[in-house]
Amino acid sequence: MKVKLSSPTQQERSLPKCRTGITGFDEITLGGLPRGRPSLICGGAGCGKTLFGVEFLARGAREFGEPGVCISFEETSDDLAQNAISLGFDLKALQRSKKLVIDYIHIDKSEIAETGEYDLEGLFIRIGSAIDAIGAKRVLLDTPETLFSGLNDEGVLRSELRRLFRWLKEKGVTAVITGEQGEGRLTRYGIEEYISDCVVLLDHRLQNGIVTRRLRVLKYRGSMHGTNEYPFLIEHRGISVLPVTSLGLAHKISDERISTGVAGLDEMLEGQGFYRGSSILATGTAGTGKTSLAAHLVDAACARGESCLFFSFEESPDQILRNMRSIGIDLARWIKKGLLHIHARRPTAHGLELHLVEMHNLLEERKPRVVVVDPISSLMSGGSQNVNDVTNMILRIIDRLKQLGTTGFFTALTPGGGALEATELKVSSLVDTWLLLRDVESDGERNRVLYVLKSRGMAHSNQVREFLMTGNGVELREAYLGPAGVLTGSARLAQEAREREEEVKVKQEGEDRQLALTRKLRAAEARMAALEAQKVSAARELEALALEGKNRSNSILEQRAEMARSRKVRSPKATGTGA
């Protein structure tokens, strides 16, 4: 097995396969059942093994041009046809057009006595003639083990069945043999020992009152195959095995960006929004606006003319429309235009796999560019308590969306009290962008904030922003970081007011200082003027003083001269003598 797995391509080439046409099965087995060999489909009563075989034949005849023979050991031809018609296969029409032969083989033990040796050559002849009649390429033996209850000689039966399978192989027909699961064994009489090429196990389990069907390829000699248990569903188009993919991680990615529909959020994501085809998770506690964000994305996509699909597990379409209208998003017009389809289902309406199938079918039908699943967390309540199942399912949806290049927006409710950075479903590592919405409680109110926890492949903002729901939709505001953390709501408003006050105050202070300085300047100027005046007056005084002194000395001289004249003394030439 290991050697084979290491070179699958070579193996795939060497092992011819026969497409069953059963949705999803050919993907799991990388091409279908082994061509020209018998395969065993086993499972408990009502697991859908007969249907698997009938679909294999019907699709072979209808889609692949391979006529088939149905050897039914349990149901009559009419019963089979009736059962198949509800799944969309008209066996009678196929019989009429010679693409199908149904042979009902019935053994009633009470009618039959056994004595001596015998073999089942009669059965061989019947199958052989049916194959030859229409050139059949496919054969269904619907529970040949029923023979064990009709015939006594187990030894003969065993060897004859073994011979039959070998003979079918020699005939080169691709055969499906169904077997009812026995205790501790795949089939009641252990015929899996004789069919070694391919064994598929079907199973249906009742979990919390909801039936989940699963399929597993137990063995596929010489071929790679998906080894997981795959949920499958029996619905109006036959069997659908899911996922259609998930064996690889090879989806093409896109560099195209699409708007989130919220300007502020686009801004946080390099101003361009999400990558097309990426998966986005929005988590948050109740009432944080997850659905509103989804509605914005859808609204923006529809406005671009893209088709959208909205899976709602909690609200009815009308409720979503009304609620979104209240924040100014009119989704009804997109529904009218046929761009938006809201698919609302209670998570408990049916098992996980049916949800998955419905999603797949809708994806197929509508080929949307944007898909919203709101919320994935409620799937937890949908009967399956197993977190892994739900995680698996979401992984499959994400895978499928990625493969289709469809943008997926998932919301998840985080229970209050738990760590916000952990989703219950452990899907956070699977998504590309994770938006975290939360409540901030302060000053007697609750406000919403949003931040981008991660966004692969872009330099996203690390800012915490306040998230407002207005009549015009969601708005993102700068959040204030105060000493007590992020300020939101009225605390933010108060902060804004405080800041305005502060501004006024600063302005006022500036003006005040200006005034003071002006005053000071004026005072200085005044003082300078006073001093100038002092200076001038002092100078004048000085001048006056000098003049006075001169006058006085002149008059003294005159007086002396007068006196001399009067005393008739020498002429007053010696001026300084008098001093």
Binding site: I112, A113, E114, T115, G116, Y118, R126
Partner: protein, 101 residues
């Protein structure tokens, strides 16, 4: 069915032996059957041999799987015995001959 119409008289015991070719088992079965009939149903029976290799479509009519299979079409109800009829007692019980005879 065709043989019935062809036959002018109906026998009390209409028997058909389905075989698939002249195998030792089918020859053995025919020999055993003839012996028993001669012994217990002298003149009251008819054996028709149907070789499925030649007429495979006839296998469906009487739900033949195993060969050899002996089918008692008359008297009603239909009875089947499979095997090479080597156990005389069981054949007689199977054909309900003791009580009828």
């Amino acid at each position: 069915m065709a043989t019935k119409r062809e036959a002018n008289t109906r026998f009390e015991y209409e028997l058909r032996l389905y075989i698939a070719g002249q195998t030792p088992k089918s020859l053995q079965a025919f020999a055993n059957l003839t012996k028993i009939c001669e012994e217990f149903l002298m003149g009251r029976y008819r054996i028709e041999i149907i070789d499925l290799v030649e007429k495979p479509q006839l296998a469906r009519g009487h739900q033949i799987l195993a060969v050899p299979t002996l089918v008692r079409t008359l008297p009603e109800p239909i009875r089947k015995i499979i095997g090479d009829l080597s156990n005389k007692e069981r054949v007689l019980v199977g054909l309900d001959i003791r009580s009828a005879g």
